[in-house]
């Protein structure tokens, strides 16, 4: 890969002295427009649900990490970590340390990564990683403006760029260079809606057709409104423990095989190649190396499909399709449930919904549910290894995790 090189000390040398980490509890709230519920309501539901699922007690919890992109813009509330600890009953008597983590739409994935590192290092034993966003207390214009802050405000935003606009430019060049079609982009949305129909928490539980996508209003050419993920309220939580004691709490701990993160330029125009997310490529390389696995070993993946083109780029950059072939692979059904590599069984950001700070945690909840064999009608049979891929902005942050059923 020209322009980027692997750090030779990354990550094996450090990891060998670290403890293995397991996930022992999970919970998503319903995703959607939750007019009657506040941020604190939904986080408490997710947090308490995950704690109950794990069987730990509040007094066992050593730390709380919460992914939240923009409480300040969406509900005029900062200091989200303290707020959540308080309303989860972890503050006044227990004084559990709580840290908010922010990396735009990758906030949830990064909160999980901080939680893993805290347990792996031995600093903490039981840690809760949560993610939440309450987006519908403001109008959609204000929400879009808050989301646009994930790009370069001064050198993209001030030129009139919107998020759909940036991904539209990725799509335009991908189509020009590789022959990807609008129909292939639409197939991503069709598949993810089909999966969303099977997920009880999904925002959209109705099937759509390629024509529905192509006939929906144009947001930024070539992206239609049905190529875009929605504005969503939702919260998700996980409970983590050192692998050696995980069986004390659950018969089906799911193990973390890799946690990896990479950065790229904040502005899309400064990237080496606009149709490749080098942050994804680099984080994937680090994750595969840490897990000693290859793309062919992964049984299912939750990727960051904030726009349909983003899923196509993601499956290419993660090594599940050759560069430029993401559209064809999708069209052929290889990413559907029952296909070669099921992608976004939860319905993805497109159909399950995209409460930005919660998304990275929700992806992990989906993979854990699948690896436990609890995914019901959307179950990927015999899944051993699952992956999550969470992106901030147009690709300035990528966070990847690999999970397994066996330690």
């Amino acid at each position: 890969m020209p322009g980027i090189k692997a750090r030779s000390d990354w990550p094996e040398n450090g990891v060998n002295i670290m403890r293995d980490v397991a996930i022992i509890g999970v919970k998503n709230t319903k995703f959607g427009e939750l007019w009657e519920r506040s941020l604190r309501d939904i986080v408490v539901e997710a947090g308490i649900g995950a704690i109950q699922d794990s069987g730990v007690s509040g007094k066992d919890i050593d730390a709380l990490y919460i992914g939240n992109m923009s409480g300040g813009r969406f509900i005029e509330q900062e200091h989200i970590g303290a707020l959540i600890a308080d309303y989860s009953g972890l503050s006044r008597n227990l004084h559990v340390p709580a840290t908010r983590v922010e990396a735009a739409c990758a906030s949830g994935g990064l909160a999980l990564r901080q939680a893993i590192m805290s347990v792996a290092s031995g600093y903490s034993d039981i840690v809760v990683a949560a993610g939440a966003e309450k987006m519908t207390d403001v109008g959609s214009e204000e929400a879009s403006s808050a989301l646009a802050a994930a790009a370069d405000r001064e050198w993209e935003g001030m030129a009139g760029a919107t998020f759909p606009g940036l991904y539209a430019m990725i799509a335009k060049l991908h189509m020009h260079r590789y022959g990807t079609t609008s129909e292939q982009l639409a197939e991503v949305a069709v598949k993810n809606h089909k999966n969303g129909c099977l997920n009880p928490i999904a925002q959209y539980k109705h099937a759509i057709t390629v024509d529905d996508v192509l006939n929906s209003i144009m947001v930024a050419d070539p992206l239609h409104i049905f190529d875009c993920s929605p504005i969503t309220d939702g919260a998700s939580a996980l409970v983590l423990a050192p692998a050696e004691i995980a069986h004390k709490y659950t018969d089906t701990p799911i193990y973390i095989k890799a946690t990896a993160q990479a950065s790229d330029t904040i502005a899309l125009h400064d990237r080496r190649d606009i149709t490749t997310l080098d942050a994804t490529v680099m984080a994937a390389k680090r994750a595969y190396s840490m897990a000693k696995l290859a793309p062919k070993d992964i049984d299912l993946v939750e990727v960051h499909d904030c726009f349909t083109i983003a899923e196509i780029c993601a499956i290419e950059d993660l090594g599940f399709a050759e560069k430029g072939k993401g559209g064809i692979v999708t069209e052929n059904g290889e990413t559907a449930i029952g296909g070669r590599i099921p992608v976004n069984t939860s319905g993805g950001l497109k159909a399950c919904g995209h409460p930005v700070g919660a998304t990275g945690i929700k992806q992990a909840v989906e993979i854990v549910t699948q690896l436990r064999g609890d995914a019901g009608k959307r179950q990927v049979e015999g899944a051993e290894y699952g992956m999550t891929h969470n992106v901030g902005g147009s690709g300035a942050t990528a966070v990847i995790h690999i999970f397994s059923r066996e330690r």
Binding site: S144, E154, A161, G165, K172, D221, A267, I274
Partner: protein, 132 residues
Amino acid sequence: MSSVPRFWRNIGVRYNLEGTRCKECGEYFYPPRNVCVNCRRMGELEPYKFKGTGEIVSYTLIHTPAEGFEGQAPYALAIIKLDEGPRLTSQVIGDIDKIQIGTRVKSVFRKLGEDGERGMIYYGTKFVPVDA
């Protein structure tokens, strides 16, 4: 953006395409950077005024506008590669039906946007297609 100093401090950059060039490795930067991405602390940056010519790397027609650009939709937004090397994001105006990936463009001074009816009006650089 509702902040006069935030805009004012970059007037030269926005009006006149002023950037920087690293004397050590020769790479040009727009907007200007204080640290060269190749040479980092070993680099030495000097001011450079771009010629304002380049070509379209990719583009889109924005139908749902950004805040402050409501009156302008639909508008063409593009990533433009300046002839000196760096790329930037800008609107392309003029005969936008004709623009394609690879279209040659040059910079022009135009109004960018405004903070509502009574707020600041922002000026800066946009691009127009030029005949090859």
